[in-house]
């Protein structure tokens, strides 16, 4: 071994002293001095270090980081000479996996150990495996934005940081499922809570917080985010990330492969959360109508996840096979366990009869006044609504009879004003008949409203969903009472079983600009209106619907970068989507030109002048230099989308990492 010396203490071999710091990059760290030669292998050096430390510990995760070259010495059979290490090298003997705090798409913080030595792409695979998210190639990490100094002075509430640093995954094997969650989460109550945080949607944010959070004011602001992506082909250490740093975990590529609620609860939920925050923070624009649908879905999702209905409810409509139904009924009957009143309720289709005030007009809608309402005796049976002058005349001809099948039902409710109206738009060959039913109280309203909704879908009140529909309506009314009602119903006791609806503020469901535009009591009825179309969805269906609606927004999935096109004198925006590049005017925001990836022949990056050159079919050449982000980010985005488009269902989970790095890397050569 190295370190032979003469009696006088002079070294006679060509050995020299190598100083190695123990621990992470810390100038104060304790150091060891080893005697090595240029021929020493890294493996041997590692062994020596461990011997010198004389501490019993699992060192298997430790490796040497060469600070000046920003490089891990991972090839244990390489010699120091081969690496080119001399005595002046600053080497750190430290763990390869270090804790980082990930800010998840749902804005919660999670501490876990990430690989600091592998390329980020591989580190992401491991992280996603730990979080049980499939398709890690779609996700990546961003640097957290630098906090402004002023804000630090403000007292920020301590937030809970979930901890997964102690969880170790056995390599190779796909995590088995245990108690409805991946086995590695079921070890302790803590990790279990962590899994719930990951797989269940978070409650709506505080509207005040929403207003405080930074929102992009212009297209230029939207480019900021994309300058912070980390590089997939290099490791975290190389990119200057330190242990304990906060990083953002986000879906980077807007091409979600094979989204399956059954196998992907975490992925689905986090994607939903990312979409939700995108909308709430106005990263993506939508219209008022669309916002109401998003709000209704959020409300619905929150309600379901709070009430613990995480599991899919059995299909309500077509779920039971006729035979099963018949046989099980047979069974029930033979055992005599069914109370007869239950049978009665099955045989008779319930009907509603009551005095209601009705207002109708078949002509142009005018401003409504209370005067227009007349008291009528109304009978609602099956899907038909008939009304009479009075109860005595009920057996006779009704004034009007409307079949509600296919009609539009619109709530017109103001709880604080004690106004409970149902607007019905009933189609007929002559056009639509508009009719308003005014109910006396919430209970009556909920019953009639539920009936109308079912009837519009061609179902009667005998339908099994009737009572749940009534409950849902009551719950929503209570939301309005507490949220936007302005204290009008403070004396009322809460309706409905789930208290989560109580105190829910509709402002937490919409982007701040709608908070400014509408009063809460204006907002609630509109959310209520949109909610009725989604009220029957299960949790994962609702999340999927939310994601799909997000995906069908025109501006969905475009990552913006400021670039300067060759030959142009002004900055412009390049939008990168999963199938195309878009040239956008910076000041106006208009699309100037679109190029599709399917027409792309090749693209090249000139790393020296930071220019990307792309050749399309028919000899169209485009070149631009990147301004707001490094051209590496643009290059990786383009290569990443090309990579994602090569995925096929048949290949399954397998990831072609080489291909990815080939498509997105390349700059290593320079």
């Amino acid at each position: 071994m190295a370190g032979m010396k003469t009696a006088t203490g002079d070294y006679i071999d060509s050995s020299w002293e190598l100083r190695v710091f123990i621990g992470e990059e810390d100038p104060e760290a304790e150091s060891l001095t080893l005697r090595v030669t240029g021929e020493s292998h890294i493996g041997g050096v590692l062994l020596k270090i461990v011997e010198e430390i004389k501490r019993k510990q699992d060192w298997s995760d430790h490796a040497i980081w060469w600070e000046q070259k920003r490089q891990w010495l991972l090839q244990t059979h390489w010699t120091l000479d081969k690496y080119g290490i001399l005595a002046d090298a600053r080497l750190f003997f430290g763990p390869q996996h270090r804790p980082v705090i990930l800010r998840l798409p749902n804005r919660r913080a999670l501490r876990l150990r990430a690989s600091f030595s592998q390329p980020l792409f591989q580190a992401m695979v491991a992280i996603c495996r730990l979080l049980s998210i499939r398709h890690p190639e779609e996700m990546s990490l961003l640097r957290a934005p630098e906090k402004e100094k002023k804000k630090k002075k403000e007292k920020e509430p301590e937030e809970e940081v979930y901890d997964l640093t102690k969880v170790v995954l056995v390599g190779g094997v796909a995590p088995a499922s245990f108690r409805g969650m991946p086995a590695h989460f079921s070890d302790s109550a803590q990790t279990e809570a962590c899994y719930h945080m990951l797989s269940r949607p978070q409650p709506p944010p505080d509207p005040l917080l929403l207003q405080r959070l930074p929102r992009p004011g212009s297209l230029l602001d939207k480019t900021q985010l994309h300058s912070r992506w980390l590089d997939s082909s290099r490791c975290l250490m190389q990119q200057g990330v330190k242990a304990g740093d906060t990083l953002w975990l986000r879906f980077k590529y807007y091409s979600f492969f094979d989204l399956d609620p059954k196998t992907d609860p975490v992925r689905l939920t986090q994607l939903y959360e990312q979409a939700r925050w995108d909308l709430l923070l106005e990263e993506i624009d939508c219209t008022e109508e669309e916002m109401m649908v998003f709000a209704a879905l959020q409300y619905h999702i929150n309600k379901l996840s709070q009430s613990g209905e995480v599991d899919e409810p059995a299909g309500t409509d077509a779920g039971l096979d006729d035979l099963d139904a018949a046989l099980s009924n047979l069974e029930v009957k033979l055992e005599g366990s069914a109370p007869t009143d239950m049978l009665d309720s099955l045989t008779t289709i319930p009907e509603l009869k009551d005095h209601l005030r009705i207002f109708r007009h078949t002509l142009r809608p005018r401003k409504l006044t209370l005067k227009g309402y007349r008291q009528h005796w109304v009978v609602f049976k099956e899907t038909t609504l008939s009304y009479y002058k009075s109860q005595d005349e009920a057996p006779g001809d009704p004034i009007q009879q409307l079949n509600l099948k296919g009609c539009e039902v619109v709530p017109d409710v103001n709880v604080s004003g004690q106004k409970f109206c149902i607007k019905l738009l009933v189609p007929s060959p002559e056009g639509m008949s508009e009719i308003y039913l005014r109910c006396q109280d919430e209970q009556q309203y909920a019953r009639w409203m539920a009936g109308c909704r079912l009837a519009s879908k061609g179902r009667t009140m005998a339908d099994s969903s009737y009572s749940s529909e009534v409950q849902a309506i009551l719950a929503f009314l209570s939301l309005q009472r507490t949220g936007g009602g302005g204290g009008g119903g403070s004396g009322n006791h809460p309706q409905g079983p789930d208290a989560s609806a109580e105190g829910l503020n509709p402002y937490g469901l919409v982007a701040p600009r709608f908070q400014r535009k509408f009063k809460a009591k204006q907002l609630t009825p509109r959310i209520l209106e949109a909610h009725q179309n989604v009220a029957q969805l299960s949790l994962s269906e609702a999340q999927l619907r939310f994601i799909q609606a997000w995906q069908s927004l025109p501006d969905f999935g475009i990552s913006y970068v400021v670039v300067r096109f060759k030959g142009s004198r002004k900055d412009e925006i390049l939008g990168i989507a999963n199938n195309r590049l878009i040239r956008i005017d910076l000041s106006v925001g208009d699309v100037v030109k679109t190029w599709r990836f399917s027409n792309m022949r090749q693209w090249n990056v000139n790393w020296d002048i930071r220019q990307v050159a792309i050749e399309f079919d028919e000899h169209i050449n485009v070149a631009f230099s990147c301004v707001s982000a490094s051209c590496r980010i643009v290059h990786e985005y383009i290569g990443g989308y090309i990579f994602l488009s090569t995925r096929e269902r048949a290949r399954g989970e397998e990831l072609d990492e080489d291909l990815f790095l080939q498509l997105t890397g390349g700059h290593e050569a320079f």
Partner: protein, 644 residues
């Protein structure tokens, strides 16, 4: 080749030229008029107890149901010929009939008559909705050629007639004597209108009457005893033709049926149902056991369960409504055909292409024209035809036209012109077209093309048009309000697409003084007359019009549209293979009874199933040909099935 069952009756109509058709229409009109009168008289005749009224309405459906049901069974019995135990069937019928007439209290009798009247109404209402379509109560058509089926058939009809006659007598004694003649009158009219032979008339009216018996009693929810028995009758009908274990099937199916209706009470358990208790216990015990371990009884129980399932399927099948429609061809001729309420436009198109020898092409479409509003729409392949046609009013001049329309699938033939939001048409390599379609329709959500631009909007109630900048989004059509920028947050929603269909306007330059003739209309499918709820838009040129219409179709139907196209391509391709063999072979294949047997749930086949009533000799003469092609046919249909 025109031996496809549903053509039978159509022949009558078609051969007798258009003039006859008009007569028929008139006759229908007259009939409808009378029906209306009848309804009115029924309505005006207020019963003494008001409570009785509401059950009546509800029962109408039930009556209809049983009506179709029993005819279906009878029909099937006829088709199956020898194996039918008609005597047993008759015995059951008679016992029911006796029971019913013995019940004969004034109240129930009166109900019977009422029911009879109302029972006819639903069928006639359907009829009334179709100006040019003639809604015949479908099932009556199905018994058009009973004479070949069985020697004992005549006996049955005779007995049936007796049964119904005695029913009639019972009814005539009832309070509602005035409505009665009308009812019988209609029966005769139906018969003559249908231009069928005497024997057929008899069978039609008989069968409908026999079903009235069952319907009436099953409606009477007050009398449990009566409820159970007619059902028993129905199930015997269906049970016997299917299997030879008529007796064993009777009990379980009866039981099953009862449970569907929920009209029976526990106390009513008969010795048969006691047997069932054992069966059901057995069934529970054997759940999960491999079949070779089962005891005899257990196997029997299993068999029973299977039979119940079959019975339930039959019940479902029998509930299907059918309509006779007239389809206008592009050469001004027209064809009458029967459609099943479950049939999609695709299925009807396939039928039509088969029948009209027009060759197979993607572009064949069913076009709905609403003449009063001067607009038309190509039905989408996945739509339910009957549902759409039921939106027409009774006196409607609307037409259903079978014609080739290139715009139906132009979107998929040249997607680059529709999906890229470009102003000019362009060529594209086929490979890229596929990529584009894949991208647009096969992702986790459908990409709605970004279509925007200035369109003219017609003012409500006026013949003036205003320019507006419209944008299409997945959530609906929006416009940019005056003085605002084109950003999402400021857009105003013009229309959401859930409740409207998109139509092409015809000649609106004349009708509404539109700036151009390239107009599109958005309206609820049920609206048939001028209304403020109809929105009219006018484009500058044809290209813009098609872009908008197709964009709206994508936003509205999404992936379904692409699936329709792929399905259509598949059909035409397979059809092309067929025609290259021999066009006659297909026909013989479809009319030969041997093959489609196994596909009773394939609604396309349900019509040709009736061709079983063809004389056996005829089938035999074709059997040579058909056996040659039956293999190929099977393969073809399997392909179809698997592609579903």
């Amino acid at each position: 080749m025109e031996q496809l069952s549903d053509e039978e009756i159509d022949h009558g109509a078609e051969e007798d030229s258009d003039k006859e058709d008009q007569d028929l229409d008139k006759m229908f009109g007259a009939w409808l008029g009378e029906l209306d009168k009848l309804t009115q008289s029924l309505d005006s005749d207020k019963p003494t107890e008001p409570i009785k009224r509401s059950p009546l309405r509800q029962e109408t459906n039930m009556a209809n149901f049983s009506y179709r049901f029993s005819i279906y069974n009878l029909n099937e019995a006829l088709n199956q010929g020898e194996t039918v135990d008609l005597d047993a069937l008759m015995a059951d019928l008679c016992s029911i009939e006796q029971e019913l007439s013995s019940i004969g209290a004034g109240n129930t009798k009166r109900q019977i008559t009422e029911t009879k009247a109302t029972q006819k109404l639903p069928a006639s209402r359907h009829t009334s909705k179709h100006g040019t379509l003639k809604g015949l109560s479908s099932s009556s058509n199905r018994i058009t050629k009973p004479s070949h089926a069985n020697y004992s058939l005549d006996d049955i009809t005779a007995q049936l007639e007796q049964a119904s006659l005695s029913m009639d007598e019972a009814a005539q004694q009832s309070v509602l004597e005035d409505t009665k003649p009308l009812v019988t009158n209609q029966h005769r009219r139906t018969a003559s209108a249908g231009t069928v032979s005497d024997a057929e008339v008899r069978s039609i009216s008989n069968s409908s009457r026999s079903s009235i018996t069952s319907a009436t009693s099953s409606m009477d929810s007050l009398d449990i005893d009566k409820v159970a028995r007619p059902q028993e009758l129905d199930l015997t009908h269906q049970g016997q033709p299917i299997t030879e274990h008529a007796i064993s099937l009777r009990c379980p199916s009866k039981q099953a049926k009862r449970h569907i209706d929920f009209t029976e009470e526990q106390a009513e358990l008969t010795p048969h149902s006691y047997l069932d208790r054992e069966t059901s216990l057995l069934l529970r015990n054997i759940a999960g056991k491999p079949s070779h371990l089962l005891t005899k009884e257990e196997q029997a129980a299993k068999l029973k369960a299977e039979k119940i399932r079959v019975a339930l399927e039959k019940i479902k099948e029998a509930q299907v409504k059918k309509l006779v429609i007239r389809v206008h061809m592009s050469d001004d001729s027209s064809k009458t055909m029967m459609v099943d309420e479950r049939q999609t436009v695709r299925q009807v198109l396939d039928n039509l292409m088969d029948k009209s020898h027009c060759g197979y092409s993607l572009d064949w479409s069913l076009v709905e024209t609403i003449s009063e509003l001067q607009m038309e729409r190509i039905f989408e392949d996945h739509e339910n035809l009957v549902e759409n046609l039921l939106n027409w009013t009774r006196d409607s001049q609307n037409k259903l036209i079978f014609m080739e329309r290139i715009e139906k699938y132009a979107l998929f033939k040249n997607p680059q012109n529709y999906l890229l939001g470009k102003k000019e048409t362009a060529e594209m390599a086929d490979r890229n077209k596929e990529v584009l379609l894949e991208e647009c329709f096969c992702g986790s959500s459908v990409t709605v093309p970004e279509i925007e631009g200035v369109l003219w909007l017609k003012d409500d109630g006026k013949k003036s048009w205003k320019k507006r900048y419209f944008l299409l989004r997945a959530s609906g059509i929006y416009y940019v309000p005056k003085g605002k920028a084109k950003v999402s947050r400021d857009l105003v929603c013009f229309l959401q697409l859930d409740h409207v269909n998109v139509y092409y306007g015809q000649d609106y330059r004349n009708k509404y003084k539109a700036p151009t003739d390239y107009c599109l209309v958005l309206k609820h499918p049920q609206i048939q007359k001028k209304s403020q709820y109809i929105k009219y838009l006018c484009c500058d040129d044809m290209r813009t019009l098609h872009q908008w219409v197709n964009g709206i179709r994508i936003a509205k139907y999404g992936k379904q549209l692409y699936m329709n196209y792929q399905e259509a391509v598949k059909r035409t391709e397979s059809a092309y293979d067929w025609t290259s063999l021999s066009s006659s072979s297909i026909k013989s294949g479809s009319s030969s009874s041997s093959i489609p047997e196994s596909q009773s749930n394939h609604s396309n086949q349900s019509d040709s199933g009736v061709s079983d009533t063809q004389p056996a000799g005829h089938v035999r003469s074709q059997s040579m040909v058909s056996s040659i092609f039956s293999e190929a046919w099977k393969r073809g249909t399997q392909l179809e099935e698997s592609s579903k």
